[in-house]
Symmetry: D3
Subunit: 244 residues, 6 copies
């Protein structure tokens, strides 16, 4: 059930304590993929996962701006600080909880959100506010043979499946030529680079020529399966909400 | 230009310092209108206004959760505190500014956001960070003959024009019967009611039977004209960005 | 009972749960009215209202500095941020509550305090901390024929009644000549001006020549009646304090 | 010059960079002295000191609520947290600075404010915002022979001089009988008591029978001399305001 | 029991509700004493006091950085703001409490920590979180004949006893020659100097030539006795932990 | 140069802009290893790395309490929130910077600190405050054949080398028997467990029987080499400190 498209009496009639909150980012994804990539992919995976799930699940609207300062040198990148992001997502989850939907999966499409989401979901769960867990789709699918990158094969494939009109295939070669092969600038187990521009001229990491609509379809299927399994695990997990 | 659908090189090529950021709310709008009403209407007005404007304008993605605690007794209402909202919107605006789009209109669709937006836009403007101004569409159109209400004639009309599939006309009579005639519970110039449930059984204020698709069309046209005029005024306004 | 002038045993003997907290501002009011206008008027109305009320009411000392950054271009204007103001007033109210005076009217004399007071009184009331409500005297009296302005007929009249020695009638003509007719600089339903200096050369809005001591007397009487009615409404209002 | 009673053009004409901000507290002072003692005494000393000083000094309105949680068990005591107090006073000082009055003495009448004022004045001074220094009148006068106490000889004397109508001499014996001889409950150089009620039944420390109007007059004279000397020292002190 | 050197099962077996948390500072102490003086002395006193005490006491690791901005002009001085310090120490105490050790003495070695520690221990105790009290060793020992100073006889003596290898006796004469005789720059009962450099060329206050290893031994003995007495007082003190 | 053991004139004479700040944690490490493991190992690696480095490096004192709430069910575990930790470490780094040591490696010994340190070092570096980078020793050494665990072979080996007296070999079998084989409870790429107790009965992960003093010696050598290489990289890195 998409919350945004539902009137409140129908929301009230939902017989579930499960909710999914998509969070993404609006940030550069190379010359070939749109700034909305991370929120569009999070939304697509969330919708597919909720649809694939056997039980009713509340689907909240996607939060479009995340922790993406690392991409700020590329025009159109939007971001907020970790503090503002954590507060905004946490309180949104708390409002879901107020209606009895206190087992919440935050479906995430952006690497920069991973650590802040882990921090806030731990807080919510330990406090007895919500049984909350982050789910980052590209950490859930088996991608041993292909590295995640940025605007690389994985993301571009998924986009080609769900929003083909937003992918510019004519820019793939440029993307690959001026992009990077791998993420970051590593020394002694730490990444010296805080900003993408330090290691990728056009913001791309990986070669989008390796993407395909078919791979995208497989990724959505795999991710939605994983999300559904996680929803089952969360539904059954032992956890007690704290009485005020 | 819709930022979410654009790759960064195109965003970089925009020859403008104007941006529009839609902000709404996901909250009850009676038994006949969807929880997403305020973000959908803000988005529709923002898109129409940007389209109607002569000059290029950057259009950011809509922020879906606002200050709506007053509606929390109705299922599906999402909200964040004023502090979280101000921080999230302010920093999103600051990221727009980082790309040179430092004259920003925040297009708003929700009454509860008005005061927080005024506070934060004042802060941004006085600090020399952004020339920012809130625009609440229903405060901009001439609605002398029809009160704003909540899920009332104005909002319902606008929705019937832009998202007719989300309006349930069969619930109009119920909405009117158990709704309220006017907003709040006033004594000595102050509203004693902090929550909608104190004065409206089903969350509606006003009679949606008075709505029409035609009125909705007129409202979008009027609001987009007003927004375009405001963009012109902001573009020409004397204001100096503070050097760091 | 004026708290400041009372020893604690007498305060303890008060048989009431009603308290009044005056808050004002120290800010420019044109060349003819003192910087303390808003706190002096709030205090005068609060005292008159408490005196007019049938039941015992605790009267706290007036808070003299509010949210008045908009007047900062005029010498002597003092202000704090909204955050500092909300925290200071909220905690002062909480200390009133600790003594059992948990139904509190915040009597306000300044437009810039209205939104912050609404926000914090809502917070206190929803949290079950206090049944708190703001009362802005010039929003409570019927002033259809005269606009509020700033240092205009209303405020100047009230001051001429309660502190005639602080009003400089010889500056009325100057005030009117270099002042503004109405507040702000409006476009598309939004006020483009964040600062008074943008639309009023000397800070005045309205013509103090239209003021009179008689009107001031009527205003105090009307405002104190309104305040007394509000105290009755608050005393009878259904509300439950949250147990810790 | 009392800011509250002055119109802005006169404030603008002040040829000084010196300002005095009185801060007090509204808190129990035994059965014989009013809750407003600390703000009334701070105000009296501030006015006398400004009057005694040779040069022009801006006098801000007194801030009536301070850090007084230790007295909360006695009815009528008001207080805010250290954080709220520091923020409110700091920003009030910053607004004084905005008009060029950047050498500020905070005249204090309450022991609980001493540490927070030291912390914030240090912050302001080190940041180059204001040359700010706290002045607590009873730390400035030579009172070797009489301990400060609380509602004791010193405070009661000063009150008897400046507000005799607020002192209840008939309660002196009660105050002394059920009060404490000295402040706190000491062990190993630390005070184990965080609240006055732990060591004084009626909140008094010291015997008000030892007070006199004559001593009050001497105290005001001594304190205003000390304040005037401090103003001279601050005016001459080497300190540079930081350019923004 | 030194927590850092103990495995958790032994910690669990402790039959006590008493804990000691040493806090110090890393800051200049003249040319003859190390930057770690205040944390080393706090640690030494804490260890001696715990050893001298009859009952079991948990000893937490020393916190090495405190509120020492006043010494920042001398190389190597580390410091954090009062806010960061209060939060860090408070939460460390809260974690001690979580294990049942809810009567906590914070053993302090630095003057700049005194006011922040008092503020946070009051907060913890009043909130029913911990029965917490600060103990500053040089306020606990009888030093009527010798002023505390900074890197003066007292601190230097204590160091010569516990860490003689870190004291440079050859620099004593320099320390005394370019140091100050007393702390601060006083006028009207207030210290005009916020920074040590304003009154001491090399950061020393007092003459370390007056120090001796013997005095150091006496100081540790006296301080540990005082600490042990305080632990007894705290153990017996009436105080109730608040149930969550 | 160990800052704690140095007097300020020697600190001032350091000809370097490099500093190392060890941060650890005081938390359970199974029945065989001390609560101080993570701060002791961080300190040992930091000292060895500074010693191994060719150029002068300032060594700050180790911060003993980190983000370790996940271990709170085991007695003696200390922790602070992420916010308090970030603030405390950030400001400590800022104080190092104030003396010109603005290239800082934060040497970390605890997994729970990794994300907060990354966040704050990014902030410091992007703001132009410090060129700061975290170094977590067990992420820097090549441990392909042995998983990190918790109180497992790696940590226990390192401890056996640097603090053999604190390791209880007699508890190794118990540790292994009631410990876990791997960290966490994984589903769909996310760890459902927020607390160690959910998957390890005694807090251990991995078998300490696989540890050895020899491996510990190798680990310190490898980690100090890595740290030295990182110091070289940071020293040479292009980065500009922001002028205030």
């Amino acid at each position: 059930m998409k919350l945004s498209e539902t009137a409140w009496p129908e929301a009230e009639s939902m017989d579930t304590d499960l909710a999914v909150l998509p969070v993404g980012s609006t940030e550069q994804h190379g010359p070939h993929a749109p700034l909305g990539t991370d929120v569009l992919t999070a939304e697509a995976v969330a919708e597919a996962g909720v649809a694939a799930h056997d039980e009713e699940v509340v689907l909240a609207p996607p939060i479009p701006v995340g922790v993406a300062e690392e991409h700020r040198h590329f025009a159109g990148t939007l971001w907020v600080s970790e503090d503002a992001f954590r507060a905004y997502v946490r309180e949104t989850v708390e409002s879901l909880v107020s209606h009895g939907w206190d087992r919440v999966v935050v479906v995430n499409g952006h690497g920069g959100n991973v650590a802040p989401l882990r921090e806030l979901c731990a807080r919510l769960t330990r406090d007895g506010t919500a049984c909350a867990v982050p789910f980052t789709w590209f950490d859930a699918v088996d991608t041993e043979t292909i590295e995640m990158g940025h605007g690389g094969p994985l993301e571009t494939s998924l986009l080609r499946h769900v929003h083909p009109e937003l992918v510019d295939e004519s820019a793939f070669d440029t993307a690959a030529a001026d992009g990077a092969d791998s993420w970051g600038e590593w020394q002694s187990g730490t990444n010296l680079a805080y900003d993408t521009v330090e290691f990728s001229t056009n913001g791309t990491v990986g070669d989008p020529n390796e993407s395909s609509e078919e791979l995208g379809e497989e990724l959505v299927a795999a991710a939605s399966d994983q999300l559904s399994e996680l929803l089952t695990a969360i539904a059954e997990r032992e956890w007690t909400r704290r009485e005020d």
